[in-house]
Homo-oligomer: 299 residues x 2
């Protein structure tokens, strides 16, 4: 049941149609671990600068995230700034400053090297591979990526994909990775690249899972008011992997149920700015929303 | 279990990224009744010009569509021409010629006035209301509409919505009708306009149903190759209403299952140009695809 995540911690400046928030806690590993921690222990490997706020470390710790793998480096924490169009469908990246993450060399603490479940959040595939190599014999490894790495580091990404059990992609990434416009074909083609399972995220339109013995589609939880979609994908991954780790196996039936938990986690994430809603979400709330989702999709 | 549909029969010229087909059989009532006929008897009320091809009348008849309410008027059949972008998400209407449909005055044959289930396919709301008024005491009436009528005939449309049990809208229409960007809110607001149920179609992203005792979401059937999306929405409505009529009731549980049947019918429709795939679809194929869909969505 040990779950480990490697990824970014960041300060985000986010502009939506109705508000702007500066320097708020974000990053793939942050969202992931806050969501995963709702299901059980999760350890995080990442790097922050010496400007990382004590209250943010405390927040993660208070939610049960094991920070023994969090490196504090001299310099500034990763910064990202983005703007959403009013319909949420378009996100413009205004700026990205890798800062201390640029030279991040992941060091998995000894205690975490036996982690059975591993999530390689979005990062350069070389960094993901370095982290993966340090974990002894994980049961289930899921990797995320982004269009940037498909564009500039495809060989390294393809190499990584041969070593993981699952990959989680959004629609644009799947199309870009495979050259297939049709999402089902893109997902099917991704399976030929190595992973046994592909989780395809379609934002407000839900997600589907495809792989050996598994073909499962789920609509998104119908959120009445999206406040900020930042982190939804990582929260989905956190709920998904958190539930997989809690179940202790990655059988197709477990993965299906984990899709529901990921969907519920993502739905809470988007109801607040940054991590604010996710960080006060309870397991009971997740369970209730999973129940609602099951009711909505039951034929 | 009698089902009646009022709507258009047309000749469509359709351009996709890979092919163009001219003057092919189309129209809302055509797609609807071909899909509904897979589930049981369906009668059609509509008008065609004296150019309507005998083979098209024969096709509809051979699939079990009762054409006793099909009027043949002097003049040309309704024409529509459109073009799809390569991603299918954008459809451009190149031309619309109402022709004989412009002065269509629906006359429901005596035998169909006792129809228990009624579908008012997309047409001017005044025409839909005229047809509705001729049906004595239907159990369940569903209406479709389009952006044009929301734009130019909103009072008549609102008047119609107060008299129907359900309305079927796509995402754009729901937003336009209610002024709500969020689809769930748009659907919920539509319920306040009169219908007890709203079916919201999201194309490749599936559909959802909302109403008293019913909140159900379903992804689209994952079609590997879309050939022509024309008629998908009407085929969905045909599968939906065909199954409702076959079950003989419009209880929420029936409506949920009918969503699955509508989805299956639409998935066959888009696999061929115009009606070509739908018109040779069998009930066994529909049932098999419904089974696949249930497997895909079962948690």
């Amino acid at each position: 049941m040990s779950l480990l995540a490697i990824g970014t911690l960041a300060y985000d400046t986010i502009e939506t149609a109705s508000a702007t928030r500066e320097e708020q806690l974000g990053g793939s590993a942050t969202y992931f671990s806050l969501a995963a921690a709702l299901f059980g222990p999760v350890a995080l490997v990442g790097v922050v600068g010496d400007d990382f706020r004590k209250k943010d470390t405390e927040l993660l710790g208070s939610r049960g995230v094991d920070l023994s793998g969090l490196e504090v480096a001299k310099g500034k924490t990763f910064r990202w700034a983005g703007r959403y169009e009013a319909d949420w469908n378009t996100r413009h990246t205004i700026s990205t400053s890798l800062n201390v993450f640029e030279h991040f060399d992941p060091k998995v603490p000894h205690a975490s090297r036996s982690a059975r479940f591993l999530f390689l959040a979005n990062a350069a595939p070389e960094i993901q591979a370095k982290a993966l190599a340090q974990v002894v014999s994980p049961v289930f490894v899921m990797a995320d990526t982004m269009n940037l790495w498909i564009d500039i580091a495809k060989p390294a990404l393809l190499d990584l994909l041969r070593k993981v059990d699952a990959v989680i992609l959004n629609d644009e990434e799947a199309r870009m990775l495979t050259g297939e416009k049709n999402l089902l074909r893109a997902a099917t083609k991704t399976l030929t690249l190595g992973p046994r399972f592909v989780v395809l995220k379609k934002g407000e339109h839900g997600a589907f899972l495809i792989g050996k013995g598994a073909h499962f589609a789920l609509p998104a939880y119908p959120v009445e008011e999206v406040v900020d979609p930042t982190g939804a994908g990582d929260s989905f991954a956190g709920g998904f992997m958190g539930h997989v780790a809690a179940e202790g196996n990655a059988e197709p039936a477990t993965l299906r149920r984990s899709m529901v938990h990921g969907t519920a986690a993502a739905s809470f994430c988007v109801e607040g700015f940054g991590v604010e809603r996710l960080a006060r979400c309870t397991k009971a709330e997740i369970d209730a929303r999973c129940g609602e989702l099951r009711a909505i999709v039951t034929v």
